[in-house]
Symmetry: C2
Subunit: 557 residues, 2 copies
């Protein structure tokens, strides 16, 4: 079966026998009065109407450092859940919401692939239940309030040059990265430099995903630092008095969304912060809801284990008060070959040596998971060009190093292709784990960052720019050094150099800037230029999109 | 009963015994398979599953020229429908969707008032079913595609100085009126002047409201002129090839939304273009859906009869291919007193003379409705400070001039307060009307504008600036002069001078600029500075908004 003859993800999704969402809710034992339908196949869950005990075990799906070859993390997440369902487990998926920017730009879709997808694919990829629009609106309402405050007399003495709150759109739009607003004379506001991020990079998205209740959401929104006054004191959202209005704008979005996989496994898709500027995990409220409804919750975190998983462990699990019971590390022969130095165009050619070299990247991520006290299980995710020789290299390496491994073929086979992985996961879930964070929040900022660099990235240490040192001093003065750190680093390398693939050694990470996110409750540490507003490619995915004569979607992938 | 002891609109709305939307659908004989629920009290209607005959009669609700005193047009629209339901008529309301900008800014809500409201008030006023977010996204996706096209080589030779497509947000944000985008060097795009409008001013909103089918929507989106090339030729969306993607982004929003009034009358709320830069009416698809489901459809148009009603007649009714069967002109004693020269602070004092003077404004709007060949019915909408002397002036004037009039008290009494008006409306509906447009589209641009100025505004004629004359020549060259005109004029006066209240005479309207909206299918004629992005007041309504301890909304009015 060749790739060209395969159906697209959208075609597979549209052919599926999708069940009414009320039926999925019933199968998950969600009381019908807790279900707010959004169309026939999506619903929001009123969590106040669920039992109050969250006891499901959490399985985190992470991956090797991303390559242009693709690893299939979401696909494995969905396929693993479907496999566990086939094994009669009470299981739920908890995923992030796709951002429209990448969907219209490059991706064309972000809901798994092949026979391991969440559906309705098209609706999830486009506006879904409007959560991201609510976050965009809240973010920009705050921006409008800030500029209006300055225009109307600036009682809080906000320094227009020191506003750090940016506007957002859920689109890829490079022209908005750097803008000047407030032009046109005194009636049109106060001119200043500004910029737009993509919505998933908004602090409100991070807050949305870390808040444990509506009340907590409001408190966190009030804690956002929007900038500094002329005398360099922080200005909070609570000083502007709009945390109530922002909470009101977010209160419906804050309810987790229920959908289903192609095999009818219940799936919660809720929240989706960037994994660089933010922590890259779905919402705590969704994960906790899934833990109330299922015995096993399969969730994923963005990019490789050095980014998403590290933040899942040190930030999300800490703030949510739960521990992962197993961690799956997804990789592919193609990804390992790229980490072994093979160009993307050469990936179809067998190359055993490249696999042997590239395996070092997998090895580091496996070690990282072990450092957190949780047993890793490698998912070796099949692609049609894989050769048996190449696969054997990885299987033998795992055997020699006593690492659990399972071949997965979920794209092609759905849950059936994840059964071997599911069995490994069940074995691990039967064993006690020794989960712990890699640092204490009471450690100094430098200690926290150093712990991550040494224990997760495998680097020698950290170098702070003078600017970063000054910022740390200021952070300590304000007492914000008790927060966990959220590393913003390239996803392509364990180091801060995107080209250092595989398992680089003897490197030092440079921390250039530290941005306090008081609402989210972490300190973002920038280790390089971090893209918070993507651009569109020369041929955006949008150019392929259309509706057919029946009004159905075309061109989502 | 004093104003301060009254419950707020939100309190009244929240106390209402709201019915499940499925029950409302059943009462309107909408097949349940055509209903897509959005929560328990909102639904989208799949119009493909309705009968194909639209035979309901349309009653348009318009008003005297707006004053700061308020007239209560939406309130009367809702109350009239409830009254007709009390009289056992098969009736539906068809309203515009509120924009979040004014809700967060000044209004705090826009769903009628008192006991004549559509509910769920809070949800309709905040994100509703996401239609405006979909329009915002489509508008800005197009903007991103334009800037990306220029950045990636500019094959179409778009002149960055002649791009007329602006970005939008559904917020009041004056700092975004005039911006410079694309700053930061070659990697960040091409710097140019740009600006943001409020979403309801987007041409996509106008298109959304005038499109008669998904196919027609796509065709209109393709027809949008986004700007001009270096050799001054128009560049269309179809040249960029994204009309399919934009249609895909809008396809779910395009389904009309079903809600209910406080008295359980089915209401469709869909689309809401500005009544200055656009035509200020709800969507054709919603009005036509209501005409399929009910014998009588009550709808409204923005601002006074000189703006909303004129455009309803000359643009919407023409493009939709239907005729209004009756027109209600809403006014209040307070509004007439302001048109008679009374200051807002003095409105509570009886002033018979001011009513007598101000009645001239009402008289002109009544004449205008008659000019369209439809019988007007004046709704004299009660306010607690009205005196019997003041009311008598208006009632006598109507009697003397053979004008139908009814006192309404719908804010206080709901449908019961609209029974007298409903009876007048039913009498008019029993009589044949002689509806006709006030110009033919084949008339020249100058003729069309002159017809409106003389027959609707009561002005002497039109003066065109040199700039406008040049634009008309260009419009004729491109063959766009066959389109109807969409006047952009101050709503406060029949003239183009906001301070000329009452019924000004002997004035000339100056047309400064003509903006072709090929997608919407009209030529916007600017007669003054038209605000397309409002600002926030010093104390925005957002500051009052919050959630209570049960997570319910506070501070919407």
């Amino acid at each position: 079966m060749t790739k060209t003859k395969r159906m697209t993800d959208l075609e597979i999704a549209n052919k599926a026998a999708i069940k009414p969402i009320t039926e999925i809710a019933q199968s998950a034992q969600i009381p019908l009065e807790a279900i707010e339908q959004y169309g026939k196949f999506k619903a929001k869950i009123d969590i106040n109407q669920l039992k109050n005990v969250a006891s499901g075990k959490v399985v985190l799906v992470t991956a090797t450092s991303p390559t242009p070859a693709g690893e299939g993390k979401s696909t494995v997440t969905v396929g693993l859940a479907d496999a566990l369902k086939q094994l009669n487990q009470k299981v739920m998926v908890a995923l992030r919401e796709p951002s429209l920017g990448p969907v219209m730009g490059i991706k064309g879709g972000a809901t798994g692939g092949g026979y391991a997808q969440v559906i309705p694919m098209e609706e999830i990829n486009l506006h879904f239940t409007g959560d991201l629009h609510a976050i965009t609106t809240a973010n920009n309402a705050l921006a409008a309030i800030i500029d209006n405050h300055i225009h109307q007399g600036n009682e809080l003495q906000i320094d227009p040059r020191r506003i750090i709150w940016k506007r957002v759109l859920d689109l890829n739009d490079r022209a908005l990265r750097n803008v000047i607003v407030g032009l046109g004379g005194p009636v049109q506001g106060v001119p200043r430099e500004d910029g737009f991020d993509i919505t998933v990079a908004s602090e409100i998205m991070a807050i949305f995903c870390l808040a444990t209740s509506l009340e907590n959401l409001k408190e966190r929104l009030g804690n956002i630092v929007i900038g500094y006054s002329y005398d360099r004191e922080p200005v909070f959202v609570r000083d502007l008095g709009v945390e109530g209005a922002l909470t009101l704008l977010l209160k419906d979005a804050f309810k987790p969304n229920l959908v289903q996989t192609l095999e009818g496994t219940p799936a919660i898709i809720h929240g989706g912060p960037f994994a660089n500027i933010a922590h890259g995990c779905n919402s705590i409220v969704a994960t906790e809801t899934a833990r109330k409804l299922a015995d096993i919750v399969i969730t994923e975190a963005g990019f490789g284990a050095d980014l998403g998983a590290e933040k899942f462990m040190n930030i999300k699990a800490r703030q949510g008060g739960f521990a992962p019971s197993a961690v799956v590390v997804v990789t592919t022969i193609r990804a390992l070959k790229m980490h072994g130095g093979v160009a993307k165009s050469e990936l179809s050619v067998e190359n055993v040596e490249a696999v042997e070299i590239g395996i070092a990247n997998l090895e580091k991520h496996v070690d990282t998971v072990r450092a957190f006290g949780v047993e890793p299980i490698v998912s070796l995710n099949r692609f049609i060009t894989d050769t048996e020789h190449e696969l054997e290299i990885v299987l033998n390496w795992a055997k020699e190093n006593n690492i659990r491994i399972a071949r997965t073929n979920v794209w092609e086979e759905g849950g059936k292709g994840g059964l071997a992985l599911a069995k490994e996961v069940l074995e691990v879930l039967d064993q006690p784990q020794n989960f712990h964070h890699l640092y204490e929040t009471s450690d100094s900022v430098e200690q926290k960052i150093t712990a991550i660099v040494q224990k997760v990235y495998g680097g020698l240490g950290v170098q702070f720019t003078d600017h970063a040192k000054k910022q740390i001093a200021q952070i300590e003065r304000f007492g914000w050094d008790i927060l966990p750190v959220c590393m913003a680093k390239t996803q392509y390398s364990l180091s801060d150099q995107p080209t250092l693939i595989g398992r680089p050694e003897n490197f030092v990470i440079t921390v250039r800037e530290i941005i306090p996110k008081l609402g989210a409750g972490f300190l973002v540490c920038l280790t390089g230029d971090i893209m918070t507003m993507p651009g569109l490619p020369k041929q955006p995915a949008a150019l392929r999109m259309d509706i057919d004569k029946d009004g159905e979607a075309i061109g989502l992938f």
